[in-house]
């Protein structure tokens, strides 16, 4: 909507004029906000150049870059190649995260419980309503499951996390695909909605016999009881950095125009099934070429020096093979 665009743009202008002229401006997804600001901080210390990133949500990031009010936009749900061509945008993944199912079940420790996509979809469809359902029991023969109703928790706000979670359920369950489908906000058949990753974490730790899904970093930092998942290769895996990177390496980036790869349900015996990249959007032929070169410089620096910082914040750096490819994309697509 135009008037919202104007309001947000006015806010950005107000924010950017207070900073130095050399600053790069970006806006979009909230999920990578902590790492982008950490990188920006370190980059400023090293080079003196600042970066101004507004976390207004993926949808907002796409709108802002289309309206050319920012140097780059950021989104958790990548744009398809046709859309990129239409707007003259380049797109690449910047950093990755993972989504993990979390539960609050008395006596169950992190990693003890295992789900597969079909069962998880059953719970979120409202078909599996009790913890001692045969489907859950079959996957977890050694775990003592109570005969209690499952409280399903999900996001109430539109979010990239929900997009990736529902995308995974759609791939894993035909029933989910036909009844609910994927999106940043979907028609949830059951459950209570909480705002943000922090809202879902809060709900899970408060509510007995509940299940939810959050970014891995939230599960780790809030010490929530996460559950393992059975991946595409049929192997149960735990949410670890190795499993997340395995999913990214096994993905076929080279054949995807605009890096349009949703990292859910990737092949490979070690791959974690709900891994997600967050993407950067930039104009191939930007009006302000100097700013756009500055931004590329920053991203190059982040790929080179930022891995440790990302891991400290429980993000997963892009594998080197993918970074090399992205460098080539910059050379080929971004006009200077």
């Amino acid at each position: 909507m135009n008037f919202i665009k104007t309001v947000v743009a006015a806010g950005l202008v107000a924010a950017s004029t207070s900073a130095f002229a050399a600053d790069i401006t970006g806006a979009g997804a909230t999920f990578p906000f902590p790492i982008y600001s950490k990188w920006a901080d370190a980059y400023k210390k090293e080079t003196g150049n600042g970066l101004n990133y507004q976390s207004i949500g993926s949808g907002g990031g796409i709108k802002q870059i289309q309206a050319k009010t920012v140097t780059f936009g950021a989104t958790d749900a990548p744009l398809k190649a046709e859309q990129l061509d239409k707007d003259g945008l380049a797109q690449w993944p910047m950093v990755m995260g993972a989504i993990v199912p979390v539960v609050n079940l008395e006596g169950v420790k992190p990693g003890e419980l295992v789900f597969d996509g079909e069962t998880l979809a059953g719970v979120y469809l409202g078909k599996i309503t009790k913890w001692d359902d045969a489907a859950i029991k079959k996957l977890n023969p050694n775990v003592k499951l109570p005969s209690e109703a499952i409280t399903v928790v999900r996001r109430s706000d539109g979010s990239g996390t929900t997009f990736n979670f529902t995308n995974y359920l759609s791939k894993a369950s035909a029933d989910w695909k036909s009844k609910v489908g994927e999106g940043t906000a979907v028609e949830w058949p059951v459950g209570v909605g909480a705002k943000g990753n922090e809202g879902v974490s809060g709900n899970i730790s408060q509510t007995k016999n509940s299940i939810g899904y959050v970014e891995y970093a939230y599960a780790k930092q809030n010490k929530l009881t996460y559950a393992g998942l059975v991946n595409k290769a049929g192997k149960p895996v735990q949410p670890t950095v190795e499993a997340f990177q395995a999913a990214a390496s096994n993905a076929d980036w080279s054949k995807a125009p605009g890096y349009y790869v949703i990292l859910t349900d990737q092949p490979g015996e070690k791959s974690w099934p709900i891994t997600a990249a967050t993407f950067i959007l930039m104009h191939k032929d930007a009006t302000d070429k100097a700013a756009s070169q500055e931004a590329i410089k920053f991203f190059r620096w982040a790929f080179k020096n930022g891995d440790k910082m990302a891991e400290d914040l429980d993000y997963i750096p892009m594998p080197d093979s993918v970074v090399q490819q992205i460098e080539k994309t910059w050379a080929a697509e971004i006009k200077s």
Binding site: G59, D157, V192, G199
Partner: protein, 329 residues
């Protein structure tokens, strides 16, 4: 008079017409300033309605009147299926329960404060009520989430479910499973939030009752209850209803606290312990990441809340008018 005019004449040349026109200019300026202030309200209101209609137009064209009775809310379907029934139901139910609790309690506090309370306790209780109005809504939301929610889910709801199990209608209204986030939780928080509006205004209008009226009633042997019922409340009816309407307006539109504790589910369920959503909670949750028809649908929801509030308040005014007529007989 004659002396006075002599004095003015003696004081020098005095242009009566000029002085009068100076007064007139002052008056005219004053008139226009106040008039423009009043008109600006209409302009602002009109501007808001207009921008809502413009923003909601794609959704109006797509869904038309069926928006009002569609229960599905599927923004990711292709094309999106959007209906306002769920949020409208949630808005009305939570506001209704909130008023059901807040009106008697608020009036009770006000009557106690003005008629029965010992002098030393008036100020602390009065200030506590006013403080309730000063607490930010998100604090209410957090309190509802961390304190009220667990109490309702673990103690109150299981009790209600047991008591009303098997009773027709009531059994369905209080059905389980217990949940932290529910319509009822939100309604309770709303009741606490609107309480100060009702109480403060009622206290103020109760104080306007002429003591002689009450004394006369006591004089002929009325009890306190009879004085309140037959003298105080009839005398201040208009003021009380004004306070109630203000409270209702707040309950219908409250966003932050409700979003926190209502559970944000668009499905309508018979139980008030089930999660639901309100119009403002739905907008607050989904607006940031919405676009296209979805966003237009959310703006249409906003327009609907505007209209809904208008009708509810208009109905309250109408009721007031009828009461006045009856009293006039």
């Amino acid at each position: 008079m004659a002396v006075q005019s002599d004095v003015i004449d003696d004081a020098g040349p005095y242009d009566r017409a000029k002085a009068l026109s100076a007064f007139k200019l002052g008056d005219v300026t004053f008139y226009w300033i106040t008039r423009l202030s009043a008109i600006s309200v209409l302009l602002i209101l009109g501007g808001i309605i207009l921008s809502l209609i413009v923003g909601a137009f794609p959704a109006i064209r797509e869904y038309g009147l069926s928006f009002l009775w569609t229960q599905r809310w599927a923004p990711s379907a292709d094309p999106p299926v959007l209906g306002a029934l769920g949020p409208m139901y949630g808005t009305l139910v939570t506001s209704f329960i909130a008023m059901l609790i807040a009106i008697p309690v608020g009036l009770g506090i006000a009557i106690f404060l003005t008629e029965l309370c010992p002098q030393w306790a008036r100020r602390p209780i009065g200030m506590a009520v006013e403080l309730l109005a000063g607490i930010p809504s998100i604090i209410y939301g957090m309190w509802g989430f961390f304190v009220l929610g667990p109490f309702l889910a673990n103690t109150f709801q299981p009790f209600m479910i047991k008591v009303f199990d098997g009773v027709p209608v009531l059994g369905a209204i209080f059905a389980g499973p217990p949940s932290y986030l529910s319509l009822f939780n939100a309604a309770l928080i709303l009741a606490i939030m609107v309480l100060p509006f009702i109480t403060s205004i009622s206290v103020d209008v109760f104080k306007t009752v002429p003591p002689v009226l009450k004394e006369a009633a006591y004089g002929v042997g009325c009890t306190t209850w009879e004085v309140v019922r037959s003298v105080v409340i009839p005398y201040t009816r208009v003021g009380i209803i004004g306070g109630v309407m203000l409270a209702l307006g707040r309950a219908l539109g409250e966003t932050m606290a409700v979003t926190f504790i209502i559970g944000n589910s668009f499905r309508i369920q018979s139980s008030i312990f089930a999660p639901g959503t309100t119009i403002s909670a739905a907008i607050a949750s989904e607006f940031a990441e919405s676009d296209g028809l979805h966003q237009s649908g959310l703006i249409l929801l906003g327009l609907l809340l505007f209209v809904l509030t208008f009708f509810v308040l208009a109905a309250a005014r109408l009721m007031l008018l009828r009461l006045e007529k009856k009293a006039g007989k």
